[in-house]
């Protein structure tokens, strides 16, 4: 069986088993134990703590701590289980009070961003591979600059002898080549922008002689390359930006969680 499918089944099985066990324990104990909320809280905290180990593992690649792939599988399925623990800890009710609502929102955002990141990681690479034209993200500005220079030379350079192409370039293509474009459209897999622009370029053919036609072909080729570059930038950026929510909010969540623990014990029935 496909190795990834096997990972999925193992993880899913473990998750379902753990969820069933947790829900059974909840039914059995949540009235019987008076400090049940404390115990489920600690279980939730322990699970969150283990989840953070994943970041630690990534920072120590030179120690033989096991493959990051395995760690990520644990992180994902434990993450889902943590959501179950969270619901159990809240006793399936909505929280009250500013502090608890904020804490719950932080947890929710971290979890949701995690799921979104998982979806991105499993869907966007295939789209990038299918599109082709691999580019390293940090090199994209340089590549874009090269395309822009080439297009400019073609349209406006000393060899360019067609003012109408030059004019078209200045008005319509210069902004296109200037920076990243159509990022949201690429994310939603819409090709409309490029087609529209190419169609406009195409319209110039009726005024073009042979050498101009060649130029137009070359410009079209450059535009397609720029489009591919933009596509890569858009999806690769998405693959990096989801972590901008997941990681900073995790730290915020940790701060709030620690304070939650102090408050809950400080204001508990047993506090002296």
């Amino acid at each position: 069986m496909n190795r990834f499918r096997r990972q999925f089944f193992i993880g899913l099985f473990a998750l379902v088993a753990a969820t069933v066990a947790a829900l059974w324990a909840h039914r059995r104990f949540h009235h019987a134990l008076p400090d049940y909320a404390f115990l489920t809280g600690w279980a939730l905290f322990a699970a969150m703590f283990v989840l953070t180990f994943f970041n630690a593992r990534k920072k120590l690649p030179f120690l033989p701590l096991g493959k990051t792939e395995t760690w990520l599988q644990i992180h994902i399925y434990l993450g889902f289980f943590t959501v179950v623990l969270f619901l159990i800890h809240l006793n399936f009710r909505l929280p009250h009070g500013g502090f608890e609502i904020t804490l719950a929102w932080l947890f929710a955002l971290v979890s949701i961003s995690g799921v979104v990141g998982l979806i991105f990681s499993r869907t966007l690479p295939r789209r990038l591979a299918t599109r082709g034209g691999e580019a390293i993200f940090e090199n994209i500005p340089a590549l874009r600059h090269a395309l822009k220079t080439e297009a400019e030379n073609l349209a406006l350079g000393p060899e360019a002898k067609s003012p109408f192409i030059g004019e078209f370039y200045t008005q319509r293509l210069a902004p296109y080549f200037a920076g990243p474009k159509n990022q949201w459209r690429h994310f939603t897999e819409s090709r409309r922008a490029l087609h529209a622009l190419l169609a406009e370029l195409d319209d110039l053919r009726r005024f073009a002689n042979d050498s101009d036609r060649e130029k137009i072909e070359k410009l079209a080729a450059l535009m397609r390359q720029k489009d591919g570059l933009d596509y890569h930038r858009s999806l690769q950026l998405a693959l990096k930006l989801w972590l901008f929510i997941h990681i900073p909010l995790t730290y915020g969540l940790i701060v709030f969680t620690l304070l939650h623990i102090v408050l809950v014990f400080g204001f508990s029935g047993g506090a002296r």
Partner: protein, 575 residues
């Protein structure tokens, strides 16, 4: 005002002599011994005079009885000349590994490993001054630091294993030194006071280049020894007795195709976009009369078939494989319906092969094979031929035609640890590069970019080729094969930055990187030019746990695969 740059003397070829303790007296002694005394010193160029070659590229080693000199399977780049005493070669079958004292190469200790946590804040390729100064102790350390393994019970070994004796004046180890292959046999000293001259291959190359007698002699013993042991170990010939083997050995022809220095040519061709199978040297042409079996000794060859206006690849074969048995066996049994070579064999890069003529095959070899081992007779018609499951077609089936063409076109099958990336799973997170950097002085040793086919990318990382072209031309031996598992590693302490390997590597896997001091500024030589060293992937020989890149990929998209045969890749593609 920027910090003052760190200035050093630029390293030179013989800054680190093979043995710093070679004295003038030693050199004089050597010059008085055969074969050196018969060499014409005038023939050697001024830059590399004979005397200096002997002083800097050789060393004298002393062995006691039972000490192992070379182990079978080790990668080494030196040849040996016995000055005094005797040595014994263990013929096949070889000694078990436990007797050979194999040990894993040293890894970084716990403290050094943990210190890498702070690598991120240090400048890239930070090398301390102490490491840079060519220490006089460098060569000596290498000699003295080597652990010598003794064979415990020599008489019993002589009893149990077949050995041959080597005496003063005999050369050995030249096969490994010249062909960049593993040592073929284990050799140990047979008497106390055995003295050997170890010539590293840079020196051997010079000596062979400028002295005809040595060149001829080496070629002769190369043929005698290498061939004999090779034939003995080939499954095809294992049913032959001694006399028959000698007959076969006499009739075998050597051939080499391609350029020893093929990488330069390949790079030029690749850049001009004109790497095409049709341009590769032909070993066997499709449709030719089968005049012998081709046994590949070193290098790679492509098995191709005419397709359209060009030629498509069916498979590539490496060292140890042969082609032509089917056709010759068929012809031997069906004299009235003979066939020609069905496919063409082309040399990729540099190939070193043996051709066993058809006559020898028919008279000696084929009759010795049991009926079950003979290949089935072939259908003669072309249509039927194509519909038959062909052993040669297996590679296409395993990895797909497109991938096969891609690998052969780019010569990727050379790699024993090629970095392949599944672009369908790779999230372009660069965790692999970061892991590599943190394990290697904050400088990654590969580029996460390379030729792509479909969703497979072969990234620009050292593939630790079976035929490491990069090792040709290194003047100091800084680039070498680790003696245990064969990883190609560059020793930064001895690298002089001459760019030989950098230029040689056909895959651009080696890059020159300026070394820095602790302020992050370049270390410069007296001409104020930055000193650069060649860097490349070393498969994390010094780290625990193996290649950090593959372990760091969270989505299982990166793997280091042996592409010498398509099996590993097929397995990985299926997963």
């Amino acid at each position: 005002m920027a910090a003052a740059p760190t200035i050093l003397e630029r390293p030179q070829r013989w800054d680190a002599a093979f043995d710093a303790e070679m004295t003038d007296a030693d050199v004089e002694r050597l010059l008085a011994t055969a074969p050196f005394r018969d060499m014409d010193a005038e023939k050697f160029p001024k830059r590399t005079p004979l005397r200096e070659i002997l002083r800097n590229d050789t060393r004298i080693l002393k062995f006691r009885k039972g000490e192992i000199i070379v182990r079978q399977g080790d990668y080494g780049t030196s040849a040996f000349l016995i000055l005094q005493g005797a040595a014994r070669v263990v013929l096949k079958p070889d000694l078990p590994p436990s007797l050979l004292g194999r040990q894993a190469p040293g890894k970084k200790g716990l403290l050094r490993t943990l210190a890498q946590i702070w690598n991120g804040s240090r400048p890239a390729e930070l090398i301390s001054r102490r490491q840079l100064e060519p220490s006089t102790g460098l060569g000596a350390r290498r000699a003295a630091g080597k652990v010598r393994v003794f064979l415990q019970d020599v008489p019993r070994i002589l009893d149990q294993y077949r050995t041959a004796e080597l005496l003063a004046g005999d050369f050995f180890g030249e096969i490994a030194a010249l062909s960049r292959m593993a040592r073929t046999s284990t050799i140990f000293a047979d008497s106390d006071g055995t003295e050997l001259l170890e010539i590293r291959w840079q020196g051997l190359r010079e000596l062979m280049k400028y002295d005809g007698a040595l060149r001829a002699h080496i070629n002769k013993i190369y043929r005698e020894r290498a061939l004999a042991s090779y034939l003995v170990s080939t499954p095809l010939f294992r049913h032959l007795n001694k006399e028959q083997l000698v007959e076969v050995a006499k009739a075998v022809e050597f051939a080499t195709f391609g350029d020893y220095d093929w990488s330069g040519e390949y790079k030029r061709l690749a850049q001009s976009g004109s790497v095409r199978p049709e341009k590769e040297p032909v070993i066997v042409q499709e449709g030719d009369y089968p005049n012998g079996i081709v046994l590949l000794r070193a290098g790679f060859a492509r098995l191709g078939q005419k397709f359209g206006g060009g030629e498509r690849t069916l498979n590539y074969i490496g060292a140890g494989h042969y082609y032509g048995l089917r056709e010759i066996a068929h012809n031997w049994r069906n004299r009235d319906a003979p066939v020609n070579f069905q496919f063409s064999l082309r040399a990729i890069g540099y190939t070193h092969l043996l051709i066993v003529p058809t006559r020898v095959m028919e008279e000696i070899v084929l009759p010795s094979l049991p009926k079950t081992e003979l290949p089935a007779p072939m259908e003669v018609t072309k249509e039927a031929w194509h519909s038959q499951p062909v052993a040669e077609n297996v590679a296409r089936k395993k990895i797909g035609a497109e991938v096969l063409e891609f690998l052969t076109e780019n010569r990727f099958f050379n790699g024993t640890a090629s970095m392949v990336i599944d672009l369908d799973r790779c999230t372009r997170c660069d965790d692999c590069v970061r892991a590599c950097a943190s394990t290697h002085n904050n400088n990654p040793r590969f580029l996460r970019h390379g030729p792509t086919t479909g969703s497979l990318m072969v990234a620009n990382a050292c593939m630790h080729c079976a035929d490491p072209v990069c090792m040709i031309g290194c003047p100091t031996g800084a680039i070498h094969r680790e003696s245990f598992a064969g990883q190609v590693v560059i020793n930064p302490e001895t690298c002089i930055g001459c760019k030989a390997c950098f230029n040689n590597c056909p895959y651009d896997a080696i890059r020159m990187v300026e070394i820095r001091d602790k302020n992050g500024g370049f270390v410069v030589d007296q001409e104020m030019k930055p000193i650069a060293k060649a860097t490349k992937c070393d498969l994390c020989v010094e780290s625990h746990g193996g290649p950090a890149c593959a372990r760091a990929c969270p989505h299982g998209a990166l793997s280091r695969l042996n592409l010498n045969n398509p099996d590993a890749l097929a397995k990985w593609l299926k997963l």
